[in-house]
């Protein structure tokens, strides 16, 4: 793993002829638009929705006045068992998907980590799923999961009435498996980077000591790949926590609420029931959770970078 060298120019270099803009103004000119633009597009709207989350207001009746309700919405949501159910469902989905991606992705990376012909092409082919649009993936997996003319049941030798997406207990598994298909390549990519960076001489030394495969794996491979695997875990946790597209086009949250993760619930609250105030509060609760996860992620990313 090559880590970039980080160098800074000292701002003033006496003796250099300079007729154009000063470094200071170039710096400001280059940075301020970006910061200002992001603030306008994200921070300002978020302040607006913070305001809304303390009010009762419906976006489809824009002419009616917003009524201040204090923390009522937050209290309602946190006291609503349906919210906790959605939350636990999302947690389950994230957990199963991330563990699955880790196992499959790391496993495939171990297999791929050897001399072979056309390794580059095969690796790229394996990476295709993660570059696709989650919405379109969800859509065409809906076809694959169909018990009759889909391909999943015949491949696994299941009968043509073994329903997936309309069965409350299996729908989540179908979603998780699709997610694993799509994102295990991501874990694989990171694992491969980690594996190929392990110095060969470590393995040679282990071989001379007649160390078992398991011993080598536990004491050489795993510790050296772990940092990258952790990045993969945190990243996938965060992304799956935000998941909307794939599940929305595949099951729409159904059957019942058995795959209704909180992004979908939020969408229905905000744009079908038009309960704008309450959904803003819901959004804020999610926002705080995401900020928590992403803090860990960015901290960790920086740490990796510094090594």
């Amino acid at each position: 793993m090559a880590v970039g060298v980080h160098k800074e120019a000292t701002n003033s270099q006496p003796g250099l002829a300079r007729t154009g803009l000063s470094d200071l103004s170039i710096r400001n000119l280059f940075i301020i638009p970006t910061i200002a633009f992001l603030a306008c597009m994200n921070i300002f709207p978020l302040i607006w929705s913070l305001f809304l989350s303390f009010h009762e207001w419906r976006a489809n009746l824009p002419d009616e006045k917003a009524v201040y309700v204090g923390i009522q919405h937050y209290r309602d949501i946190l006291n609503d068992p349906a919210f906790w159910q959605t939350f636990s469902l999302t947690a389950q989905y994230v957990l199963y998907a991330v563990v699955g991606e880790l196992v499959v992705g790391f496993g495939v990376a171990l297999l791929l980590n050897r001399e072979m012909k056309a390794k580059g092409v095969i690796t790229t082919l394996l990476l295709l799923p993660m570059m696709m649009s989650p919405a379109v993936v969800g859509l065409f997996w809906k076809l694959l999961w169909n018990p009759g003319w889909g391909i999943v049941n015949p491949i696994f030798g299941l009968a043509n009435d073994y329903a997936w997406l309309s069965d409350a207990n299996r729908a989540l598994w179908a979603v998780v498996i699709t997610d694993i298909w799509m994102w295990a390549p991501f874990v694989m990519l990171l694992s491969l980077a980690g594996l190929s960076a392990i110095p060969k001489h470590l393995y040679e030394a282990a071989e001379i000591d007649r160390a078992s495969w398991w011993f080598t794996f536990r004491n050489i491979t795993l510790p050296l790949v772990t940092p990258l695997l952790l990045i993969a875990i945190i990243f996938r946790t965060m992304e799956n926590f935000k998941q909307f597209d794939m599940i929305f086009t595949m099951t729409g949250g159904g059957p019942g609420t058995s795959t209704e993760v909180h992004s979908i619930r939020l969408y229905r609250m905000a744009f079908q029931s038009w309960d704008t105030g309450k959904s803003s509060a819901f959004a804020y609760i999610l926002l705080i959770m995401v900020i928590g996860i992403s803090m860990i992620y960015i901290k960790y990313l920086n740490k990796i970078k510094e090594r």
Partner: protein, 435 residues
């Protein structure tokens, strides 16, 4: 100038000029055959007047969301919308629909269209004589069935032996369930019945509604806004339980289905009876898609303890209030053309379910398709969901709770409906109808 530049400029010029000069009307509707039929009718209008009319569509499950997102944004990307019957209240209260009273007077719309459709698709509030839509597509739930299976002597004999009466088009919901059970043979790849179970929009609710009304249940009192004890009454609970019993005779993977899936298994010859809106039946007459055209028959909803009822579908065409005056003028012109009897006749010819009395009663209409007779019968027993502005809020809890009970198999009908009653009470109270 290189080729690429020329091409870009050419496209740009074309886009600008077409935007400036062409007169174009956009009508927004759901993705289904009637929308294609309306497009076909509109081509005739284009031929006569030179005004380009495009019928833009989006799938049923998100038609309502899409339209009201657009309205909420005061958007003008469509000139007219063929809005669902329950939307009238929301469309009017939000100020999204243009009032059409003068148009109604001038073109005698209320007199030429059937009273039921005018009341359900156009008028709000009920009885006010304020009109906001031109009844366009009359619709309600009915049934397609495998006539050839029903008339098979062997099946008839077996049925007679098992149930003690003659196998025929069911007269009551109880008979319908018997027939569904009789034909339900999963090991032969045959299933008894298809009913709506969709989670999106209103699919499941519209399916249950048929039974609820026939069983004497109710979705609440539309006049007094009372729901407690009605939506969770004994009769409503019985109806929902009955629907769940029917659900066990449906094909596999039947947990989130609507019209399209129903048509699909029907054309594959896997099901004996299929509930659907009449407007979805044209697909069954395409022999390239449905190999069983000859053996397909149609009937209207059977009787329940409280009588015969059918869930009303159907839509009226309304003008978007956020478009420019010139577009409004174009829209009025189109509507004026549309309501003429000769054009209503053409509408029926391309397959539209006209609401025009004279055309409906004509012999030609009754014989135009194999299902028009059943359709006409059904139009006299229709009943709709809530049509107040908050209908979408009311749909969400009933969809969620019923799907939870019927498909996900969690809880009981009573628990589900108690939840609905509780959530509805809250919504109606919040909206200021009750204290």
């Amino acid at each position: 100038m290189n080729l690429l530049k020329k091409l870009t400029l050419g496209i740009l010029a074309l886009t600008i000029s077409s935007a400036l000069y062409a007169q174009k009307l956009t009508i927004f509707w759901a993705e289904w055959d009637p929308a294609n039929q309306l497009q076909e009718l509109a081509e005739m209008y284009t031929e006569e007047t030179g005004v380009d009319v495009v019928v833009e569509t989006t799938p049923w499950p998100d038609f309502q969301t899409k339209t009201f997102t657009e309205f909420a944004a005061k958007g003008s990307s469509f000139d007219m919308v063929v809005g669902d019957s329950q939307w009238v209240g929301a469309g009017v209260k939000g100020g999204h629909y243009v009032k059409l009273n003068d148009f109604f007077k001038e073109h005698k719309v209320a007199e030429t269209m059937t009273a039921g459709t005018v009341a359900a698709y156009a008028e709000y509030p009920q009885g006010s004589k304020n009109y906001y839509a031109i009844p366009t597509e009359g619709d309600a739930d009915g049934w397609a069935y495998r006539k050839d299976w029903f008339e098979d002597p062997k099946e008839m004999a077996n049925f007679q032996k098992k149930y003690g009466y003659k196998l025929d088009v069911p007269e009551t919901w109880a008979q319908l369930k018997d027939i569904a059970e009789f034909f339900h043979r999963p090991d032969e790849g045959r299933y008894g019945v298809t009913v709506y179970t969709g989670k999106g929009y209103d699919a499941l609710t519209m399916g249950i509604e048929n039974v609820i009304f026939a069983f004497g249940g109710s979705l609440g009192d539309y006049a007094t806004y009372k729901v407690e004890g009605l939506v969770n009454s004994k009769e409503t609970i019985a109806a929902v339980e009955y629907y769940k019993e029917l659900y066990q005779f449906t094909p596999p993977d039947w947990g989130d289905t609507f019209f399209a899936e129903a048509n699909q298994v029907f054309t594959q010859g896997k099901v004996a009876m299929s509930m659907n809106y009449f407007a979805f039946f044209p697909a069954l007459t395409n022999k390239k898609v449905n190999p069983h055209v000859a053996g397909t028959g149609y009937f209207s909803n059977p009787k329940g303890p409280a009588g015969r009822f059918a869930a009303l579908g159907g839509q009226g065409m309304s003008i978007n209030s956020y478009i420019s005056d010139s577009q409004k003028k174009l829209s009025y012109d189109f509507l004026a053309w549309f309501v003429k009897e000769e054009n209503q006749r053409k509408w029926a010819e391309v397959g539209g379910f006209t609401c025009n009395k004279a055309v409906l009663e004509s012999e030609a209409f009754l014989n135009a398709t194999p299902f028009n007779a059943a359709f006409k019968e059904t139009m006299f027993m229709v009943k709709d969901f809530w049509a107040i502005p908050e209908f979408a809020d009311l749909l969400e809890p009933i969809q969620r709770n019923m799907h939870q009970y019927i498909v996900a198999d969690q809880g009981t009908a009573k628990e589900g409906l108690d939840n609905v009653a509780r959530e509805w009470k809250e919504i109606l109270k919040k909206a200021g109808y009750t204290n």
